[in-house]
Symmetry: C2
Subunit: 376 residues, 2 copies
């Protein structure tokens, strides 16, 4: 393999796959990036136990200014290789595989010789040959992820809850995440698709996917096999394993009738929760208390060691029974951030039953649920 | 004490003194900020065992929009207090000391009550009443610090070497730092001063001082007592303790005659050293080798596990005997960064004797010395 190309174009490709490359792993070759050069172009692959990313730089890409002298492949230690490339003196550089996977990297008057690994020993990526696929706009998928993924469980005691449950049926894509203390659920219509699926994708994979796609536009195509899902956009393939097992039936968790309803400006309410949580974080119990009554709506936070905070809240409207309810402000902050700068309504049954948040104009397509904390 | 003022103006003052406030300390009150309100204005004080910073916000400062209802003082836990102030909802806020050092913080409809401490228990700052002082431009002092402080020792085995040695005599201010492997020395003329001193200021204090002064212009006045130095600018006083003991005589360490001299563009040489150090950092010995001979000037780095790098260097001129010398590239990088983007000359005696760097046009006013590493 021998190739000369533009350094910045190469660095961009390397960054795409580095997201998947394990820094700590028992499989040494997975700390490497696999480099495959054919006459069509350059394929880079990075992988860890959960996700794999493959990028492709076409020989026809003008920014890459590729000059292919000899095709071939090799695996190079990714972190180190990327630091070398970043520091090279010239705009272009040459990559040449010598004997025994030694790789010569030349740019200007600097040349490195580094030890590579045989690419035949690199694990094969899953082959997803199903023709069935769905297409959704990248920004819709990213929004779906950011609105739900924060609610996945961080604990491995129930592994299935560390993923987001995606169900496609009747032209509606449903995404649900819950750590059993709170739940996030989003539905989006997907017209003109006959596809159906029911899968659980690890939360960590989705966070990386979201980062990988954050600057992209257009559609992403999604295909899956028994235990893998593939997200594909122009020039990049993103594979994630799926979580195995049955996801709990979350539909019955979301209440439908309520005794108290209040409507806030999301952003102002978030700022107040943030202030109150300053004190609750210092105390032993991380809770704040919301008081809803005829005399006003008041938020309380307190820490015996440091002090207390009390804030009379502005609200748009309130109805139903008075209520005193305590909850974890971090759950509330995460939910409010997911709504962004909009008007939200919160509906309660009682101080000990889960309550739900949704946009004021919502019809159940985006719901956050939080379980309160009993204080007596 | 009761005071209403502009929140941003207050945050600025708080940031100044927070630099000095210990996050970990056995003296609990030092995690606090001392707040003193007189009819002239507001003084904030932060301190740890090494440095103390005092800031003053005058009642006449129009940005502060201060409304003093009652003077007084209190100590508040700094980190926590600052997080509260940052999150307050309105442009202004009110600070009121209630009974038993309880402090009420009000802004809009939010109010906090936090536990403060009695300011009488806060340690007194040193009283530096000597009328003698020197004045130097803030940017000159900052440059002096950045050109030397990186060479102080990081080890407490010889505490005196953890400081920078400042000597003022005959209208020249000399600053020297060494960790016994390398040395940085800077001289600046200070005309029209009859002052003389010989002190050692802890490197850490100087780094904090430099950060405190980084956005400031004008002159800083420097005054000292037996074991303290005070740097003063408009609205801020910065105290540091001095290191006790005799600083070694470093003058005799700097050689004056040489056998090989080479001249580089500092920035290009730094980039080459940076590339070579990538590999040396991975190896057991963190060294790079510089080869100077008739056939060229070549820089080598290598790591048995990863690979090697070789770079033929551009240079402006070379004279004297050929040489092969090995050194720690991190020392070289730090020295080259201190010179910035200029032409530098490096003068060698032999492969086992310390060598010096200075700007090409230098006359000894700014010298960096590095001890090579013996490789056989």
């Amino acid at each position: 393999m021998k190739l000369t190309l533009n350094r910045n174009a190469f660095i961009q490709e390397l960054q795409k796959v580095q997201r998947a490359i394990a820094t700590k792993t028992t499989i040494n070759i997975l700390t490497g990036v696999k480099i495959d050069l054919t006459n069509q172009g350059l394929t880079l692959t990075g992988s860890n136990a959960e996700i794999s990313i493959e990028s492709f730089l076409s020989v026809e890409d003008e920014n890459a200014q590729m000059n292919i002298e000899r095709t071939g492949s090799v695996v190079l230690q990714a972190r180190f290789f990327s630091e070398i490339i970043r520091r090279l003196p010239e705009e272009h550089f040459t990559l040449e595989v010598l004997e025994q996977n030694q790789v010569k990297i030349t740019s200007g008057k600097a040349y490195f010789t580094v030890n590579g690994l045989d690419s035949d020993n690199y694990p094969h990526l899953p082959i997803i040959d199903t023709p069935n696929q769905i297409q959704i706009p990248i920004q819709v998928l990213n929004k779906l992820i950011s609105e739900t993924v924060f609610s996945v469980s961080q604990h491995e005691s129930r592994p299935i809850l560390t993923g987001v449950h995606f169900v496609l049926s009747n032209e509606v894509l449903l995404a649900v995440a819950t750590d059993s203390h709170r739940l996030s659920q989003r539905k989006i219509p997907l017209a003109d698709t006959a596809e159906q699926f029911d899968i659980v994708i690890p939360g960590k994979s989705l966070i990386e996917l979201s980062r990988s796609l954050s600057d992209e536009e257009g559609d992403v195509s999604i295909r899956m096999m028994d235990n893998q899902v593939l997200f594909e956009i122009e020039g990049m393939k993103f594979y994630s394993r799926l979580l195995e097992g049955a996801y709990p039936d979350t539909n019955r968790l979301i209440p439908t009738s309520f005794n108290t309803t209040i409507e806030f400006e999301g952003k102002a309410f978030l700022a107040a929760i943030d202030r109150a949580s300053l004190l609750s974080h210092e105390g032993r119990n991380n809770i704040v208390r919301l008081h809803i009554a005829d005399d006003g709506v008041i938020l309380y936070g307190n820490s015996p060691e440091i002090g207390k905070v009390e804030e009379s809240l502005n609200y748009n409207q309130v109805s139903g029974e008075p209520l005193d309810i305590s909850f974890n402000p971090d759950y509330m902050k995460a939910a409010l951030r997911a709504f962004g700068d909009t008007t939200i309504k919160i509906q309660f049954i009682s101080a000990i039953r889960p309550f739900i948040l949704e946009p004021s104009e919502g019809q159940g397509e985006f719901v956050q649920l939080i379980t309160p904390v009993r204080t007596n």
